[in-house]
Symmetry: C2
Subunit: 322 residues, 2 copies
């Protein structure tokens, strides 16, 4: 599967989540609304108790594996606007959570959807949002197993998804050592031009990496390389980076965008000291961008070519100050 497989291939309708020329969800009772959502989900919503319809959803993880849990929302005005097609927004909600499962090397389990939203949300918009979510569930084999609808403030739409997963040996952010090489999948920067909606979570890549003996640590790049890479650097160490090797997305114009834009949803990982990535079986590019070394006290991210610390005006995405 290539990135192009997930790009928009047909015209999709774009309209406001709160248009008042269409039927709003306040016209529906809770039960009718849930029924409408389940109808769109179809076979991607299993029967209860494995799916929607009981007090809890019931799941049997693969025997001997540990359970992974993550949660992330999409919020109107923050993660999408009225210029984004609702079905892409629905797909994004699942995929950004799956990117966290990928970063642990996990296999996805069922998902839960919580939908606090204004009574003025357009029913058509909601159905197309759920349709996009449902198509992504199908693409990645995720059962939508439960959730909740609740009335929020008018003009608001907050969809929170909780994604489960499983792994025999989850890969954490800790474990890089001095001389560990640093790699990143895909390309970085410029995600707001479309990739933030149309990326593919690197599930297969993460699962393959988790099986390599020399993998040390892994994270997904969601807040930007400049911020997320810090999570992989051990105390008293720094990352020496080869800026020429940092893969720039075709929608990014400057190296600063690759470091600071965020929403790349690529995998960033380290290997054992001195190791090299071998036998990478995917079409997705994977690039060595530097290595971990003992700090010389000049900063944490260092440009190898100049020997100077990297400094950015905007060091990765800040949620409440943007």
């Amino acid at each position: 599967m290539t990135d192009e497989a997930n790009s928009p291939s047909e015209e999709v309708e774009v309209f406001s989540p709160f248009t008042d020329s269409r039927t709003a969800i306040r016209e529906f009772g809770e039960i009718a609304l849930i029924e409408s959502i389940r109808e769109v989900l179809g076979e991607n919503s299993p029967a209860s108790p494995e799916g929607i319809g009981d007090d809890c959803a019931v799941w049997t993880p693969p025997p001997g594996e540990r359970v992974l849990l993550t949660t992330d929302p999409v919020i109107f005005g923050k993660h999408f606007s009225e210029n984004d097609a609702p079905e892409y927004v629905g797909g994004k909600l699942l995929k950004r959570n799956l990117s966290d499962i990928a970063a642990m090397g996990g296999n996805p389990g069922p998902a839960l959807l919580s939908l606090p939203m204004g009574p003025d949300v357009c029913h058509d918009w909601l159905r197309q949002f759920v349709y996009g979510l449902s198509m992504a569930c199908e693409q990645f084999g995720v059962p939508l197993s439960g959730g909740d609808v609740a009335a929020g403030a008018p003009g608001t739409f907050v969809a929170t998804l909780t994604q489960t997963g499983s792994s025999a040996h989850p890969i954490t952010r800790e474990g890089a050592q001095i001389h560990s090489p640093i790699y990143v999948t895909g390309a970085l920067g410029g995600s707001l031009r479309g990739k933030h909606l149309h990326f593919l979570p690197r599930l297969a890549e993460g699962q393959w990496l988790a099986q390599q003996d020399n993998l040390c640590s892994m994270i997904d790049v969601s807040d930007g390389l400049a911020k997320d890479l810090l999570q992989l650097i051990p105390h008293g160490a720094q990352a020496n980076l080869e800026l020429d090797n940092i893969p720039l997305d075709q929608n990014a114009e400057t190296i600063e965008q690759a470091f600071c834009d965020g929403e790349d949803y690529e995998l960033l990982f380290t290997l054992a000291p001195g190791a090299e990535l071998q036998g990478w079986p995917f079409a997705t590019p994977c690039q060595k961008i530097g290595h971990i070394r003992n700090t010389r006290g000049q900063g944490t991210l260092i440009d190898i070519a100049s020997g100077k610390p990297l400094e950015f005006y905007h060091p990765g995405y800040e949620h409440f100050q943007g």
Copy 2:
């Protein structure tokens, strides 16, 4: 533990989540905000990867048990107001999710917290909210293992919790048969006078019931008896109710309140046909309120005394039309 144990025993401070005379969370970066939340959580937030700090939280459910998953929010203006103490709101968020785990007869696992909120949320209010959540985590042995903070629209506060649990044999809503007796714990109605914040999820009661051979089906009463009881009645059946036996909360004045108010968070369950509940070991009251029988086509909820169907002006809580 009695109900009184969870009632407010000290004066707590009540103030608006959005007061602008105090420091707002927009003054904090995401990392500082999460650190502030973790500080309040203390030992109720385990170290990563079991707790906050990696791409996913990792959990090992008890071997041989199935995993339970549920999610419910508390929303400003819907589930609480500026007249409710933030620490009680935080406790409510956990407890309403634990009530769903109780309704399956499960044992709670870790919880995830998603916090979409306006940049104008008061930092003190948030800390007291998290403090209440943390105290409830401690009370019920729930590790707060992960989550997300994200900027929502100004003036909004939506906290969504996902609660995991486990059970060797989860109890579903299906299974009642003709002549199954119907029971309910505690007392119903008038919850808005305080119980909606100060209830105790019936975890121990649910776990004990799940071990009884003659338990057929169970649900928690969150939308009101009139609505939730319908979930336990098999197709082609009705519930014959002894209205005098329906336990009325001291804050409820009419039987209609017991049927329609909602937010009781009591357990409603059925036993095998003709069975009686024996050996109930709890201080919590538990009352037989009727039984399932073949429908005579007059309605689904029947007053045994009059033989007539029960009709309510407001048949249980409707989320988008209230």
